[in-house]
């Protein structure tokens, strides 16, 4: 529904922006069966018989981490072309077959991993898995489809420039991660897209779409045994290739003070302020989760929202996020405020960051953060689609299935001292990147905010 937003104007979208959290009380543990097929494919299954449907999520270690800077967009293009023709079916046959049964099938690129997904009614499970297997194992990358897809991606890149939030985020990631793949736009650039050939796609697929680098979660109205038998039928013959061990550099971020502005005819300034963060595997991940919830991850429970929206009325939404990927991460506060109030909002963010570093949080704040992070887990795995996506991530990031049981302990063991320590370690009110997309005359940014 491009351009058409539902006529519901919600009070905030920030409520769900606790991106860093994965709370799991023991009582809601999932009955997950983990199987490793002979070819190395990891299969995770959960039975849910509430509705006659089956959801499959696939994570393949074939994201943009594995492409060269001069071929940026290769991984994403390869993922997007999976549904555009195989040895057995044309693009139109694929969409016609899956859509005729009201199912959904697709794949899209990412930086850490590529995601493919399938949703079908139970009666169509075999048909769906047949298609899913075909697009993952046998894509043909037909030249005409490559050309069309490249043009669509270039068009999409252009269209995205219309969104101030996208522009700010694109610049921010580039400033933080530099030449590391995390610093690039996953879709690539018009120039790098032009340089990608069919041969690049074919060899990328051959090297990276291998069963030992694939995680598959099957969730829904299907037994563990049925799911395993079907996955063996459709993916068991997928041969393990000699995949070169990926050599991925850790994303290093240098701390520095830098401001980047973009001048546009806008009524609001879109602002991102932040710096490097932590990777998903960092031991401080959970303490950082709690700290960030209190600072700006907790929606109306957060200090940033309380101060900058509730008390000062400067924004509709403001949030902070530590986005933690496999090889690095970033911290960012983002908001929109009218051009004229940009300086004031930036000053308040920095004040809140300093406050986090200078004084311990209150007992109430700490306990509220813990109770939300641990108590909200059932919502994060409410639907089959969410469970499947969650399981792929747990496996990819090496958290182990025991994570589901132990998460609450990780969170509950965080102390006020830990929160203060990680605020001092991972927040910085001096060396940060500030991106402001605005009517710059009206925003009239200050040199200093302290």
């Amino acid at each position: 529904m491009n351009g058409i937003r539902p006529g519901i104007t919600g009070i905030t979208a920030a409520v769900l922006l606790f991106l860093l959290s994965c709370a799991v009380p023991r009582s809601y543990a999932l009955d997950v069966k983990r199987t490793v097929l002979e070819n190395g494919l990891v299969l995770l299954t959960v039975e849910r018989h509430n509705l006659p449907m089956v959801r499959v999520s696939v994570g393949i270690n074939a994201g943009s981490l594995h492409e060269g800077a001069d071929k940026a967009g290769l991984a994403s293009l390869a993922a997007g072309l999976l549904t555009e023709g195989t040895k057995n079916r044309t693009a139109q046959q694929i969409s016609e077959e899956i859509e005729f049964v009201g199912g959904e099938l697709g794949a899209s690129g990412g930086d850490d991993y590529v995601t493919a997904g399938l949703s079908v009614l139970k009666k169509d499970t075999a048909l769906g898995l047949n298609l899913l297997s075909d697009i993952i194992l046998n894509p043909l990358f037909p030249e005409p489809e490559i050309g069309k897809m490249k043009e669509r991606i270039k068009g999409a890149l252009r269209a995205k420039e219309e969104s101030p939030g996208y522009v700010a985020s694109r610049i921010f990631r580039s400033e933080i991660f530099g030449s590391h793949p995390y610093g690039r736009v996953v879709m690539g650039t018009p120039e790098t897209l032009d340089s990608i050939t069919r041969e690049d796609l074919v060899s990328f697929h051959r090297d990276h779409y291998v069963p030992a680098q694939t995680i598959m979660a099957v969730v829904g109205d299907i037994t563990h045994a049925e799911a395993e038998a079907l996955i063996r039928e459709y993916f068991g013959t997928w041969h393990q290739a000699d995949a070169a061990a990926p050599d991925i550099p850790v994303a290093t971020t240098t701390k520095r003070r830098k401001t980047v502005t973009v001048d546009k005819d806008l009524t609001q300034a879109t602002i991102i302020l932040g710096h490097g963060g932590i990777s998903r595997g960092a031991p401080d991940y959970y303490a950082v989760s709690v700290m960030n919830y209190i600072l700006g991850g907790g929606g109306f429970a957060s200090r940033l929202m309380q101060n900058i929206r509730e008390e000062k009325g400067l924004v509709y939404d403001i949030s902070s996020v530590f986005s933690a990927d496999r090889y690095g991460g970033s911290f960012e506060v983002s908001l929109q405020t009218s051009n004229e109030t940009a300086n004031r909002a930036i000053g308040e963010i920095l004040r809140e960051v300093q406050l986090m570093q200078h004084a311990p949080v209150s007992d109430q704040e700490l306990s509220d953060a813990k109770s939300f992070l641990t108590g909200s887990f059932p919502m994060r795995i409410e639907t089959s689609a969410r469970i499947a996506g969650f399981l792929v991530a747990v496996e990819y990031y090496g958290l182990g299935l025991e994570y589901i049981d132990e998460y609450a302990d990780y969170i509950n063991s965080v102390s006020k001292e830990d929160v203060l320590r990680v605020a001092r370690t991972y927040l910085d009110a001096d060396k940060y990147v500030l991106v402001v997309v605005a009517d710059q005359d009206k925003a009239a940014l200050q040199e200093e905010y302290r």
Binding site: M1, N2, G3, I4, R5, P6, G7, I8, T9, G10, I11, T12, V15, L16, Y28, N50, L51, P52, M53, T83, S95, E96, E99, F100, V101, G102, L121, K148, E151, R152, G155, A156, R158, A159, E162, S163, D263, K264, D265, L266, T267, F300, A301, R309, E310, K312, G313, L314, V315, Y316, Q336, S338, D368, S371, F372, S376, P378, M379, T383, S384
Partner: protein
């Protein structure tokens, strides 16, 4: 997503009946328990034993169509003020308490309604009941807080509309398509109106419309009906009925020719949004229009994708939609964003060609069957979420009767290819169309 495409809106007030409590008691999974409290407030509970969650919602017949010109945006601003506390619970404390028990809460305002919800563990539902009942009649609206929240809403408006060119086109098309019906103004309100809304305006509206006989409750999830009803009867039952709410919504006159509006705005690509007057879901033709929308635009095998995006490569994105779950007749629409370098006129023309093709020859049996399968499968898959279960019931109830929900799929199944052709001929006609075009201008160069 045919069913929920476009503007959700409607309103079909819970009428102030005086039925005895417990009109129906069915406890099987998926069944709906229905009761009307003596003060006129209706309650609907969907039991779903498969989930560890519950959702609790209060729906008010209080959307932007109930506002007066000059005070647009009032309903939505009031929705924001509903989080500002009562004598028993301070500002923001409702949300904090819900989060403390691992739940989330939020609210939304549409053209026909406003609603409030919490999603949480079923054993915490007493919090929802107590606090929703409290803010239904005891809201504090501090004049200072009102001014501050007005600023928040103005920021929201800037973000959603003033700096979003495609949404501005949508807003302009609504304003042109409807010249008398209050669907013509945006739910968020015109900026100049927002500046004039006073504390007194909000209070009057709140006292008139936030009454039990103008609202209903929907709950869904792993719920014990008896205990939840006991809580509801206690906390909501003691709120007195308000004066009967009489809505006189002006009728929209017949449209006698195409209307066309333009938005010149800093943007990257041109965009067209073309909307036809269409009936709502109370009309039997709505099912064929839903199928038509799906045939045109549901997926990569649908006509618009195949033609405009894949074959002609003139549009970056394009589709059709139908907003039928509205209290009053609304719109069926076509839209498209041009590929860089392609004229928007070509996109608009190609969209109409797809409509003309269907007028000339009905879609094939297989295409219609595919559309029906897509709509039905979508309907089933969405039930995986308690929020959606409650939302569907509430939307149908607002339009008139929640049991429409259970007749919806049958209605879709009745549609024939000839029906699809007939409704295309009947409704997708030039004279009742309003077209909005975004003309990108560049005022700045990026530094």
């Amino acid at each position: 997503m045919v069913l929920l495409a476009g503007l959700l809106a409607l309103c079909g007030p819970a009428s102030a009946g005086e039925e005895a409590a417990g009109t129906e008691t069915v406890r099987a999974d998926g069944a709906v328990y229905e009761e009307t409290l003596p003060n006129g407030m209706q309650v609907f509970i969907i039991t779903d034993r498969s989930t560890p969650l519950a959702v609790f919602e209060v729906w008010y017949n209080a959307g932007s169509i109930h506002e007066k010109p000059g005070k647009t945006g009032l309903s939505h601003l009031l929705e924001h003020m509903m989080f500002k506390g009562t004598p028993s619970h301070g500002a923001g404390s409702f949300s904090k308490m819900i989060k403390r028990v691992g739940g989330i809460d939020n609210a939304g305002t549409g053209k026909d309604y406003a609603f409030y919800f919490q999603k949480l563990a079923p054993d915490r539902l007493s919090l929802s009941v107590e606090m929703e009942a409290d803010r239904m009649s005891n809201l504090i609206m501090d004049p200072q807080e009102t001014l501050s929240e007005r600023n928040v809403v103005m920021e929201e408006r800037r973000m959603r509309y003033d700096d979003d060119p495609q949404n501005l086109v949508y807003e302009e098309v609504m304003a042109a398509a409807f010249k008398n019906h209050p669907y013509r103004w945006p739910t968020i309100g015109w900026m100049s109106d927002l500046k004039t809304i006073t504390h007194e305006d909000l209070l009057t509206y709140y006292r008139t419309r936030y009454v039990p006989n103008n609202a209903f409750i929907v709950a869904a999830g792993n719920i014990d009906v008896d205990s939840l009803m006991a809580l509801i009867r206690k906390d909501f039952g003691r709120i007195p009925s308000g004066d009967p709410v009489r809505d006189s919504i002006p009728e929209e006159p017949e449209q006698l020719g195409e209307r066309r509006v333009f938005v010149r705005k800093e943007a990257e690509l041109p965009y067209v949004f073309s909307a036809y007057k269409a009936p709502n879901i109370l009309d039997e033709d709505s099912y064929a229009l839903d199928v038509l929308s799906s045939v045109l635009s549901d997926g990569k095998s649908a006509r618009i994708y195949k033609s405009l995006i894949d074959k002609k490569q003139i549009a970056l994105s394009a589709g059709a939609g139908y907003s039928s779950i509205q209290k009053y007749p609304h719109l069926f629409y076509l839209y498209g964003t041009a590929m860089p370098g392609r004229p928007i006129e070509d996109v608009e023309k190609a969209l109409y060609e797809e409509v003309e093709n269907i007028k000339e020859e009905p879609p094939s049996e297989r295409e219609v069957q595919k559309a029906k399968n897509q709509i039905e499968s979508d309907f089933i898959m969405h039930q995986d979420n308690v929020y959606y279960q409650a939302m569907m019931l509430a939307l149908f109830q607002m339009v008139g009767d929640w049991t429409l929900r259970d007749r919806y799929i049958d209605g879709i199944r009745r549609v024939t290819p000839a029906d699809v052709q007939r409704v295309a001929k009947k409704y997708l006609v030039e004279d009742t169309r309003t077209v909005g075009v975004l003309i990108p201008v560049k005022n700045r160069e990026a530094q």
